[in-house]
Amino acid sequence: MSTASQSGTEKAIVFENVSLRFDEQVVLDGLSFELDHGATKVLLGVAGAGKTTILKLTLGLVRPDNGRIFVLGQEVTAMRETELFELRRRLGIVFQESALFDSQTVEENVAFRLLEERVPEHEIERRVLEALRFVELEQTLNLLPAELSGGMRRRVAIARAIISNPEILLYDSPTAGLDPVTSTTIMELLMKQRDVYHTSALLVTHRLQDAFMMATHVFSREQNKMVPVPPGTDWDSKMNFMVLKDGKIFFEGSAAEIANSDDQYIREYLTL
């Protein structure tokens, strides 16, 4: 108990022996991991490995059958739904399918959390514009989500997630199915969030090149774009990788470790 609550307060996210099954299907089987403050963990795994489920568990949107989950020092698994809303406001999530409110405009979508907090109107306007400028979509203010392309929706979802400066960001496949130019733009946004605002993050992705790009680059404030990490910097504590297989952690380590792993499964996964 004491060790758990200690690590629970010092880490951004702690999973302790978490298990979950849907009907007969075991999705997570005694999963444990920790995310440090300011660090980014890349979740890898084949389709159906349980990556999205981990993000939903983190927010308390889904409850585990067993195990405990701590987020920002609070035990999510011991909280009631009504108590969770407060904690969720300190986190941001970008859903796999964006999940924008389809009968609200881009502006209303991005402003959602500020409207909820009854922030003064002029401030909302300013911050919405700022967030949309961050994702380079300030011209879409009055469009409905259905009028946007998939990549634009993804970026609006990012703007909606970051507008209240969350302490943890959960990205679910933010670059899936996008062209290389758009996905580089999005990865740059993620790096900016990591290196400028020092937000902790879980990043689910199928595109390894994106994950490696994030592990080998740093966002430079001066040049306002990403630049390669200077040689000799210890970057491993900030970026690490986790591969899920059969509901368990199959591999956990740094970018270099995963790239140089000689495990059969990892090699196959990397070359696919």
Binding site: E81, R88, F95, A99, F101
Partner: protein, 259 residues
């Protein structure tokens, strides 16, 4: 077989439990911040103003056919002048509240189920929860208060229009004295009748909104699931309205004494 029966019972009990819990939350939300007045006003517009034509039409025709039918029976006893009384008693105590509620159930329980159901299957409900907003507060409570409030007034309107429909028949087909019709229609109404007639729409409004929202929020299985939720919501709300109507009528009769 025994297993599947047990499973069936268990699932239904679970559904009833979840429904009760949602209804309770939606009600309890009224007593704490934040409240969504804007959303409530918008729902009042959708439910109240949007239902006006259908409520006026059903009210009018129901009143008219009531006058026609009761005149037919009353004439056999030479009591045609009681037409106004019969129309007003039936409209105010029973048909006004029940028919208005059934119409609103058809329009709005389905509307709520399909709207919230679509939000559910496209993860917008999860997105809302993730953004720290309680869907029972932002979505269910405004619909609940708006439906209860508007159904009350829609029922009054329906009663009046029904009486007017009866009057039209009395004047045109039965050639009754209009003054006599209205006087007997008004004077026969007791406090107990009006009380019963206006308690019902509030209860039925509660049923419509909570059932519509419950089926919407528990929709699963894509667009087909939304369609299923919508149909089930209308069926469940309608049956429940009629069943509750029986019990409430009996209960109020006992409470308010014989009339």
């Amino acid at each position: 077989m025994a297993f599947s029966l047990g499973q069936y019972v268990k699932e239904n009990l679970l559904a009833v439990q979840e429904y009760s819990f949602l209804s309770w939350r939606a009600f309890a939300n009224l007593f704490s911040q934040p409240r969504y007045l804007g959303d409530m006003l918008q729902q009042m517009d959708v439910i109240g103003v949007g239902s006006l034509p259908i409520v006026v039409l059903t009210g009018f025709f129901t009143g008219a056919v009531l006058a026609l039918q009761s005149a037919n029976s009353l004439a056999r006893f030479g009591a045609l002048s009681f037409t106004g009384q019969l129309v007003s008693m039936s409209m105010v105590r029973e048909l006004g509240p029940v028919l208005t509620s059934l119409m609103v159930a058809g329009r709005n329980a389905s509307g709520m189920a399909s709207e919230l159901g679509s939000m559910r299957v496209t993860e917008q409900i999860d997105a809302m929860r993730a953004l720290g907003t309680d869907p029972s507060r932002k979505l269910v409570t405004p619909r609940l208060t708006a439906t209860m409030f508007m159904l009350f007034f829609l029922t009054i309107l329906s009663d009046l229009v029904g009486l007017a429909g009866g009057a039209a028949i009395a004047l045109i087909l039965l050639r009754l004295d209009l003054n006599e019709y209205w006087t007997s229609a008004w004077q026969t109404l007791r406090y107990a009748d009006v009380f019963m007639g206006l308690t019902k729409p509030v209860l039925f409004g509660f049923i419509i909104a909570t059932i519509g929202c419950y089926y919407g929020l528990s929709a699963k299985g894509g667009t087909q699931g939304v369609g299923r939720a919508t149909t089930q919501a209308v069926v469940a709300a309608s049956v429940l309205i009629l069943a509750v109507d029986l019990f409430v009528t009996r209960l109020l009769m006992v409470m308010l004494g014989p009339l």
